[in-house]
């Protein structure tokens, strides 16, 4: 495209369009910083469970042009969510100062806790864009405090559904809407100040957009909104075009839903690739689950967009243009396109994370060195409630389980350990903040030895996390993917190991008397209560060929003060041939505890001499023995 053609199409020159795009990125990051600083809710403050975006006006078909660096499951759905919400409400009914909201998963994706706030930006009585925030609210009613549960049977148990409705009308709060939400939420006193902060961040975003229009003109601003999505679309189109035509099939497995363990849930994706286009055909996937582990079409669309971006064009800005050359084809009533009222979606990300794995499974064989290994695959949520000695109730959500784990390796290097799911991109709550708010001692969160998929580049190590509960507690635990490794190997790398969850009852844990941590070794599990995972039925140690222990086999996991939960996440997959890894890198892994001496020999063909536990700097590689082992 010549400079003249560019200016004709976008109303400005290339340089100015790039500058405005960067300035709009500043807008959403500035909004995010403000909200993070002011939020009262721990899910915002400690988890970063929100996102900010800018969308174009109705005349442009609501392109989502700019997104904040935040929660991926929001960024992927907000383009369609804004369009659907505004169209249903009617853009002609919006006025300056209005805030339009909605949270229906079937209209906007994700789950009912995630409320979407839309602020139309006017110029000369015309909508020129929308600034948007989606933020997880601590509670929206429903059968479970906080909402997180895979056991809800239908949308009515999920919580309050909000259709497109005004929260503010021309700058004035709509009391009935506030009351509707607060009268259904257990934590309205936390939601209220956060709503006020969201309102101010929307104002800030709109003001900054206005300043950009004042400076560059409406034409340049509107052209840039289109330029931003066209940039994404062009890069994705070129990246898709570079892989060979074919039908690529990938699968993934979710162990069970929250009703019983009689039904497994399988995801199948066929990526039909022709020229510059991909059709993601999801036929062959399980029907929607009986409880709240389903995903909406928008969530599945997000997962495919994320996976293809990561595999083919990771530098591409994430906008609505990401999907220009991708068609999602999925029947209603599927696990990946659930329908109300039975298709509840509270734990949707567990399904879409599995879809990411399936896309990796499909494309990795054809990508060769550009393949990416799989991550830990499940958030392994731990939610618990109890009462302090003085009668004060306490609750925790997504703070003390296996929420953080490893990524897989890539051609660039080893996979990170203790990070976030591909599909999320959130913060790790600070241990000090958790222990301040909840009667728990986080005894351990560390990399587990010999859990990472071996490879020329090693996968990230599984997270081993021990939490000691100081009062009686009632907990929900959600390890959804313990039967089949989620940490797929790539380009000849090995898969990561499977994880599991155990309870050490107070008398077994006996932490105070023991005076030290409980090791992660086969002999320590016999007297535990297995929560989830593939374990030996007698010894309760990890055994991929053992018995499946079902995470929802009890209505809740009730423990006495002094009990300890142990979460072991899945390991990340390795990349490349393990026996080609530099022995010095293996030696460093042994020194750092990622790999044992035995694992070095078994998985990498590297013979390490010495005692890494007591003399880590004194260990060496037996070069001759290694050469012999690798021969």
């Amino acid at each position: 495209m010549s400079d003249t053609e560019f200016t004709q199409r976008y109303g400005t020159d290339r340089f100015t369009a790039s500058v405005i795009t960067n300035r709009l990125h500043y807008v959403v990051e500035h909004m995010s910083t403000g909200f993070l600083r002011e939020a009262f809710s721990p899910i915002i403050r400690d988890w970063y469970d929100f996102a900010c975006t800018i969308s174009g006006p109705p005349e442009q078909d609501y392109p989502m042009s700019v997104v904040s660096n935040s929660l991926v499951v929001f960024l992927g759905t907000m383009g369609d969510a804004v369009r659907n919400t505004v169209i249903e409400y009617g853009p002609e009914n919006l006025r300056p100062g209005d805030v339009l909201i909605g949270n229906d998963p079937y209209r906007t994706g994700t789950h009912v806790n995630d409320v979407l706030f839309i602020y139309p930006v006017f110029r000369d009585d015309t909508i020129v864009s929308f600034v948007n925030i989606r933020a997880h609210q601590l509670d929206m009613g429903g059968t479970v405090p906080g909402g997180f549960s895979g056991t809800k049977n239908n949308k009515y148990e999920e919580g309050l559904t909000i259709p497109p409705v005004l929260l503010y009308r021309q700058g004035e709060p709509v009391r009935s809407t506030f009351s509707l939400i607060f009268d259904n939420s257990r934590f309205g006193d936390i939601l209220l100040p956060d709503f006020k902060s969201i309102y101010q961040q929307l104002h800030l975003g709109a003001r900054l957009i206005g300043e950009n229009i004042d400076r560059y003109g409406s034409g340049a601003f509107l052209g840039t909104l289109q330029y931003a999505v066209d940039t994404s679309a062009e890069r994705m189109r070129e990246a898709i075009g570079r892989i060979p035509d074919g039908d690529y099939v990938g699968t993934g497995l979710v162990d069970a839903d929250g009703l019983d363990e009689t039904e497994e849930f399988r995801i199948k994706v066929t990526l039909i690739k022709r020229g510059e286009n991909i059709e993601a055909e999801l036929s062959g996937t399980s029907r929607q689950a009986r409880t709240s582990i389903n995903a909406s079409m928008l969530d599945s669309k997000t997962a495919v967009g994320v996976a293809i971006t990561m595999l083919l064009a990771p530098e591409t800005p994430f906008t609505s243009g990401t999907w220009r050359n991708i068609d999602m084809a999925c029947p209603p009533g599927s696990l990946l396109n659930c329908m109300p009222p039975e298709g509840a979606s509270m734990m949707f990300w567990e399904i879409t994370t599995t879809l990411v794995t399936a896309v990796f499974d499909a494309l990795n064989p054809v990508l060769g060195e550009r393949a990416v290994a799989g991550d830990y695959g499940s958030l392994n949520l731990h939610n618990a409630t109890g009462v302090l000695d003085d009668g004060t109730p306490w609750a925790t959500a997504a703070q003390c389980g296996g929420e953080h784990g490893p990524w897989g390796a890539t051609s660039d290097g080893d996979g990170d350990s203790y990070t976030v799911l591909f599909m999320l991109n959130n913060l790790d709550p600070a241990t000090e903040a958790i222990e301040h708010d909840v009667p728990v001692v986080l005894l351990r969160k560390e990399a587990a030895t010999d859990t990472a998929g071996a490879g020329f580049h090693r996968g990230g190590a599984a997270t081993l996390r021990d939490s000691l509960w100081l009062t009686d507690a009632s907990a929900y635990s959600s390890p959804f993917r313990t039967k089949i490794p989620s940490g797929l190997g790539a380009n000849g790398g090995d898969t990561g190991r499977l994880g599991a969850v155990w309870i050490f009852p107070a008398e077994t844990a006996n932490i105070r008397e023991r005076g030290k941590l409980i090791p992660h070794s086969p002999e320590v599990y016999a007297d535990t209560v297995p929560v989830g995972g593939m374990l030996d039925a007698r010894t309760k140690e990890l055994d991929p060929d053992g018995r499946y222990f079902y995470f929802a086999s009890q209505p809740s996991w009730d423990t006495k003060a002094g009990a300890m939960f142990r979460y072991l996440t899945n390991g990340g997959g390795g990349w490349g041939t393990p026996f080609e890894r530099d022995p010095e890198r293996v030696l460093r892994d042994v020194r750092d505890g990622y790999v044992s001496v035995e694992g070095a020999a078994r998985d990498y063909g590297v013979v390490v001499l010495g005692d890494p536990e007591n003399d880590p700097e004194g260990i060496t590689v037996d070069t001759a023995a290694t050469r012999s082992l690798r021969a």
């Binding site: 020229g275 929607q288 999602m328 396109n337």
Partner: protein, 73 residues
């Protein structure tokens, strides 16, 4: 909203209805009509199953298969 019954079969597949004609791009005679979701939301497409060329691409229901009772007001 009208209830949507959980499918009876363990897995589900998208119905792609055959359409008469040949693909103007590749000449194949395997055209099918079905809904897809892409940039811009839901579309009902007639696509060549051989080369993925969209012979037609019409806007479909805003919310796909979801029907709102409010739409009948």
């Amino acid at each position: 909203m009208p209830p949507f019954a959980r499918p009876q079969e363990p897995t589900v597949s998208l119905v792609k209805t055959p359409v008469e004609g040949t693909c103007p791009r590749c000449g194949a005679d395997d055209l099918r009509r079905y809904p897809v979701n892409s940039e811009g939301g839901w579309f009902e497409v007639v696509k060549c199953q051989s080369c993925l060329h969209s012979v037609s691409r019409e806007r479909w229901h805003l919310l796909g298969s979801l029907q709102l009772l409010s739409d009948t007001i």
